[in-house]
Symmetry: C2
Subunit: 146 residues, 2 copies
């Protein structure tokens, strides 16, 4: 921080103006953060994107751009799309597992219902509401890829 320039202005070897768009989000002590977004989007594109965002949301924007850039550097083919596919896959597997459990609970309920009058109705209700949650969410996930 000797020169007082932010990471972006240091990287671009220019003076850091007092109203620098990068300065609050790319401090000099974290040069890697700017280096990542610079490599993927180009510095001027990042500046343009930040300019288009209200000030109070710029920090979140800079951080999200940094994460996306880092993921793309880590996985130059799929980037964040790879992470989303993996999470989507995980949710699909959980759905299958939940459906299996639901079947097993139903089977068990049928097996034991002659013992008690109202066996396990609470468990079945909770399970069923959980399945509905997944059914609501998935069309949204699928639409992200269209």
């Amino acid at each position: 921080m000797i020169s007082g320039r932010c990471a972006a202005c240091k990287n671009q070897r220019r003076k850091c103006p007092s109203d620098c768009i990068f300065s609050p989000y790319f401090p000099a002590n974290d040069p890697q953060k700017f280096a990542c977004v610079h490599k993927i989007y180009g510095g001027s594109n990042v500046g343009k994107m930040l300019q288009g965002i209200p000030t109070y949301l710029r920090e979140q924007t800079a951080n999200a751009l940094y994460l996306e850039a880092k993921w793309r550097i880590h996985d130059p083919v799929y980037g964040s799309v790879g992470i989303i596919s993996s999470l989507y896959e995980q949710i699909k597997n959980a759905e299958i597992e939940l459906a299996k459990i639901q079947t097993q609970i139903t089977f068990y309920k049928l097996q034991t219902q002659h013992v008690e009058a109202e066996p396990n109705s609470e468990v079945l209700q909770s399970q069923s509401s959980n399945m509905e949650q997944f059914e609501w969410d998935n069309p949204t996930i699928a639409s992200w890829f269209n």
Copy 2:
């Protein structure tokens, strides 16, 4: 397709060379695809990224870049990070729901175990393996944000 130029070369108003890096992945009949990546990364950055990828993986790369760009245009603050957070949240909620179900099944098992010798051990086993799956996966998800 009258001019035979790809969407990128049309957009940049230049001749489309026979070895154009964009041509196979940005056809003229889908100008929106190039327009999106051009807006977010800049055309030359996209070209550079594709150049760094083996030919057989360039289509997946172009498609992933397009999806990321589309998500960022749709959500200029969070982009694909917003989608990942929402999926992560969904998995966390499913974990909580599964833990509740597990507790309910255990409770039910204890309530009914005086009726049968081996009540519902299969259900409990499946449930427990499912919970482990989530426990393994989550440190990975958390590390994506670091």
